[in-house]
Amino acid sequence: MSQLMSQPSQSDKAKPLLTASVHDVRYFASLLRGIGFSNRASMRFTAGSGITVTVEEARTLLATSYVYADHFDEWAFDVDNLQAAPSQLSAPDFDRHATSFEIPLNTLLECLNIFGTANMSSSSSTGSKHKQWRRADDASDDERGDDARRPNANRIDQHFGGNEKRTSMRLTYAGPGYPLTLVLAEDSSGPTTTCEISTFDSEPNLELPFDAEQTALKIIFKSSFWLRDALSELDPSCEKITLIANPVADVQSAHRGIPAKPLFRIQGTGAFGSTEMDYPNDREVLETFECSRSVSFSYRFAHISRTLRALQNSTKTSLRLEQEGLLSLQFLVPVPRPRGGMSDSFIEFRCLALDDDVAQ
């Protein structure tokens, strides 16, 4: 654990490097909660683009949340105010336009939810049981489909949007060595909460670069529901998840002793047995399916199940597999823009595949 560098309460006097504010902290909180499986998170503020928060596990799983600057009502990154130690300023990779640090993520989430109104009313996985396979002749439109899958999130917001209190947040950060300061309030008549969360030097992050040239499989799920439903079906005693895919031309069902070559199969195996879920070549489910060669890679179920919270709050999911087995899952999370309309934020999980010799 690196050295604690926070100085108490000096940040009031220093002009902030970054000031960002948002009138409804739920979306920010949900983007953080989606990767909140570890208390140690690395946070990066970049002048032009926004905030990225990264969490890793076992040098195998890497999760990143991208909160773009256009989600915030106010975003002021004052490059001239970057206060850093002289040794840092002269470092070769020093970037005036970005700053990063480590922060206790669970503490940050508790602070954001101090008034109890920072939770998205997202549907639980039990809501997914109502979804039926859509038949070819069904004329239902996508919009309604999406809404139905997250009945709580959209409908309740519309009905109770006026009555429910929202927590607003103002975030300031003075620079390396200073704490992250948040000011939260529900409304002008209620209480105001100010918190200073200690920040730490950031350790070099695990990097799992995904080489787009090496993509063996690319799937875009029309709705995250399709993946979420499958993963929640898997018994928690499952130890390993295997992803199997074959190019469209090679797909065939099992016959005469020759095993099947499914289009896309999720297989869960554990001490108690195994589960196989096959996906059809249906554009309503797999909006995009590109597979250049047969692939089969396994991952620890414990790591893949870390993605469930992020899945719940996302609308679409993209799944990509590299030739060596690196898995990249990207979850699209719609967030409101300050002046109306929605924009997209992302949560991305990357996971290294289990060694073939061990997996088989």
Binding site: P104, C111, I114, F115, T192, T194, E196
Partner: protein
């Protein structure tokens, strides 16, 4: 030793015991000619929290008759849960939640009589109610709550914690909201700082290596001492002195308490309409929880939370 009273205001009695039940399994009840006291002063309580409550008997009872060799006062200990059950069935309006109403027997008690009795050589507080069931038949329900009578010598030793005069009194915002916030703070720290001043500012804060957090309310009322009659004695003289000295209204006074004990107090949100926090700087926090409207003087629960010594602050 004789004691008999008719309970007129079961809901108030019920809510009082409901708040106490969340704190301690057994409580002490002291009945005098004019007052009923409910006391929880167990040393084992979280953070040393104590509750002393007082209700004037006229508010709650009629036909109140008490006689004993100890100045016509009777002190006893009993199980708060058992007492609560007895009170719950005494009136369908005693518990206000609709869930409870489904469990409560569907008769309206005309009269609930509480009296000291001996059943099978065991001293009990007996609750007897007569009512009319839906089919028109007379119904008699009796609850016997086992009690231990306290000897006068022991009872005389009971006294509220001695505190200096509080420096500040502040009207608390709705307890439910405070509870939401303090519940979030519980995993972050063991110690909570309560701060307030005489200009209507109230602050709840924590300070650890990982995080410093402070929640502030402004424009809280600062009631004057005269408002709560059922307060500690001997303060009238001192009140005048304080008014003459007129301390700086912006000065903040602080008491550090165990966060868990403050949460125990916050569980009394079920009964409170109005709550006043008094801070004895660096000594203790006293909270007056009024059951019903203050003007009605229905009853007051007084919570004492002593300060904790914390290295950081």
């Amino acid at each position: 030793m004789r004691f008999r009273a008719t309970i007129e205001n079961a809901p108030i009695f019920y809510r009082l015991i409901q708040a106490v039940e969340k704190l301690q399994k057994k409580c002490i009840m002291k009945f005098t000619e004019t007052e009923m006291h409910v006391i929880c002063n167990d040393d084992a309580n979280e953070g040393g929290i104590q509750v002393w409550s007082v209700v004037k008997v006229d508010t709650m009872f009629t036909s109140y008759r008490i006689q004993s060799n100890a100045n016509n006062a009777i002190t006893l200990t009993l199980s708060t849960e058992a007492l609560l059950s007895a009170l719950r069935s005494s009136s369908s309006s005693a518990s206000s939640s609709s869930v409870a109403a489904a469990i409560i027997p569907s008769y309206d008690a005309d009269e609930v009589v509480m009296k000291l009795a001996k059943k099978n050589e065991q001293a009990v507080l007996s609750f007897e109610m007569y009512g009319m069931s839906r089919s028109g038949r007379r119904v008699r329900v009796a609850h016997d709550v086992r009690i231990d009578v306290m000897r006068p010598a022991e009872s005389d030793k009971l006294h509220e914690p001695r505190c200096p005069d509080p420096e500040v009194h502040v009207l608390l915002p709705p307890l439910l909201k405070i509870r939401t916030i303090v519940e979030r703070l519980r995993p972050l720290s063991d110690v909570l700082a309560l701060r307030a001043n005489n200009s209507g500012i109230l602050q709840l804060s924590i300070n650890t290596d990982t995080v410093k957090l402070e929640t502030q309310w402004v424009k809280c009322g600062n009631p004057s001492m005269a408002k709560h009659e059922i307060a500690q004695n001997d303060e009238n003289d001192d009140a005048e002195d304080i008014l003459l000295n007129k301390p700086d209204p912006d000065k903040m006074f602080c008491v550090l308490v165990s966060i868990r004990s403050f949460l125990k107090f916050l569980n009394s949100h079920v009964v409170s309409a109005t709550t006043i926090l008094c801070l004895c700087h660096n000594h203790c926090a006293i909270l007056y929880v009024y059951i019903g409207e203050i003007a009605d003087a229905g009853g007051v629960l007084t919570y004492y939370i002593p300060t904790v010594i914390d290295g950081d602050e």
